[in-house]
């Protein structure tokens, strides 16, 4: 028990990195998701193919390898630094989950009933108005639960930044284990509980999102 009280503040020092990376990479992922999700529905073939390429590359390879590419390989190959390791972590996680979420955006927009497009056209809306006033608000409601789920995934994904020397909660846990081998279960137990506590509000938001989604769409 003494160990628990001793370890918690030590591991909690990593919270600011875990939380800041979570928030920044989630926001970045959302932006990528809407941007590339809409691009994949574009009438322009080149735009469509290009974003399709991005999505498949980032969905098809592992996040940890992408992280190492951005952190180690690209700076060596091209002689450019992509920013601090905090930024590299945010980029990698944001690009990876942005690719997954763009599929959520795309499929949600496509699943709005054809009749909605037709009614909007019959009311003489322009393509942009039709999207903004009729299609998008309905699609967003359908996206909410999936966005909640993926945000929880992003939280868990942030633990990978400990591998590029970022001092998040897992990193401090690993450090502690170096000095207290015997207490390994307690240390990782605390790490586990901290992640779970961070996930609780996200789980709550996801449930809320599911409710909103149910209410707004069915006609």
């Amino acid at each position: 028990m003494d160990y628990v009280i001793e370890f918690i503040p030590q591991i909690a020092r990593g919270l600011n990195i875990t939380i800041s990376v979570l928030i920044a990479s989630a926001l970045f992922a959302y932006i990528m998701a809407f941007f590339s999700g809409l691009c994949r529905l574009s009438n322009n073939v080149i735009v469509r193919k290009f974003t399709g390429f991005y999505v498949e590359i980032f969905r098809g390879t592992s996040l940890i390898v992408q992280l190492f590419w951005l952190y180690y390989a690209i700076p060596m190959l091209f002689g450019i630094q992509l920013g601090s390791n905090w930024w590299v972590g945010v980029f990698a996680i944001g690009l990876n989950y942005g690719a997954y979420l763009s599929e959520v955006v795309r499929t949600s927009i496509l699943s709005v009933a054809q009749g909605q497009y037709e009614a909007a056209t019959a009311l003489n809306m322009s393509r942009f108005q039709r999207m903004r006033i009729v299609i998008f608000p309905q699609a967003v409601r359908m996206m909410l639960p999936e966005f909640g789920n993926y945000t929880i995934q992003i939280l868990k994904g942030t633990s990978l930044v400990s591998l590029i020397a970022m001092s998040d909660i897992l990193y401090y846990g690993d450090i502690l284990r170096g000095s207290y081998q015997q207490q390994t279960p307690i240390i990782y137990g605390i790490v586990l509980v901290l992640y779970f506590i961070l996930a609780l509000p996200l789980i709550w938001l996801t449930k809320k999102g599911e409710k909103i989604a149910k209410k707004g769409v069915a006609s």
Partner: protein, 256 residues
């Protein structure tokens, strides 16, 4: 006779290899009420969907208020219409759908108000007043803040009509608007259409299976069969004096 508000001139329509409309010629004058009847698969709905720009035409011309809907002039020759051209014309046309197609994320008042405000850029308080009047007219003045999923099918369809009417179209299209309703809800919707037909001077085109109703309110009945207009005239002409066997056998199915 005034100039027709809508003219179909030798309009053809194919879906892939299947030609569903084989040369439609039809004039509709302003305020004329036209019922299009015929067996299912005869292309009735396609006719009004092309007029609403939901379906491209394969060949021919559709003229709305003197302007060619699907073609526009560019550098002295006629080319396929772009979105801007379609938008400039289809504002005169409104449509009510079989499956209502109300916007589920808006209240019924918002359903009515959104297009006049965003599309026609009309003043909000005026649109609000007009929308409420229209919803009262279709008997839903007490449901303004309800969402579509809180309404019955008949109520939804009445909202859809109010939504189309608030746009003040010159031509209203009704695409089998009672087909998706429970039988006991059909009457209330037909009542509203009858009211519109009697009191509004816009042209109306109804695609319907409610034969008695159609014959009752229509100035002109068009019998569509196998992609062509097989018979056209006033209700009494078409019903009582037609020699067309297929029409007679079609009509006999509605008599018992």
């Amino acid at each position: 006779m005034s100039e027709p508000i809508v003219q179909f001139k030798n309009v053809h329509k194919s879906f892939g290899d299947v030609e569903v409309l084989k040369g439609i010629d039809l004039d509709i004058s302003p305020s004329e009420k036209v019922a299009i009847i015929g067996p299912s698969g005869s292309g009735k709905t396609t006719i009004i969907r092309m007029l609403m720009t939901l379906e491209k035409i394969t060949s021919g011309d559709i003229i709305v208020d003197g302007q060619n809907l699907w073609k526009m002039e560019k550098n002295g020759s006629m080319v396929e219409a772009n979105q801007k051209h379609l938008r400039s014309i289809r504002g005169d046309i409104g449509m009510v759908f079989q499956h209502f197609n109300l916007f589920p994320h808006m209240t019924i008042l918002e359903n009515c108000m959104t297009a006049p405000i965003h599309v026609k850029k009309e003043e909000k308080t005026e649109v609000r007043k007009r929308s409420i009047q229209m919803l009262e007219r279709v008997g839903l003045g007490d449901k303004l803040d309800n969402y579509p999923n809180q309404l019955s099918g008949g109520q939804k369809q009445r909202v859809a009509m109010a939504r189309a009417l608030v746009m003040r179209p010159k031509v209203m299209l009704f695409d089998e608007v009672t087909s998706a309703l429970d039988p006991e809800l059909v009457g209330e919707v037909l009542e509203v259409i009858r009211d519109i037909a009697k009191n509004d001077d816009m042209a109306m085109i109804l695609v319907t299976h409610e034969m008695d109703f159609a014959l009752d309110i229509a100035d002109k009945v068009v019998f569509l069969d196998e992609g062509v207009i097989a018979e056209s005239g006033s209700a009494s002409q078409v019903i009582e004096h037609s020699q067309n066997e297929r029409l007679q056998s079609f009509l006999s199915r509605f008599r018992n």
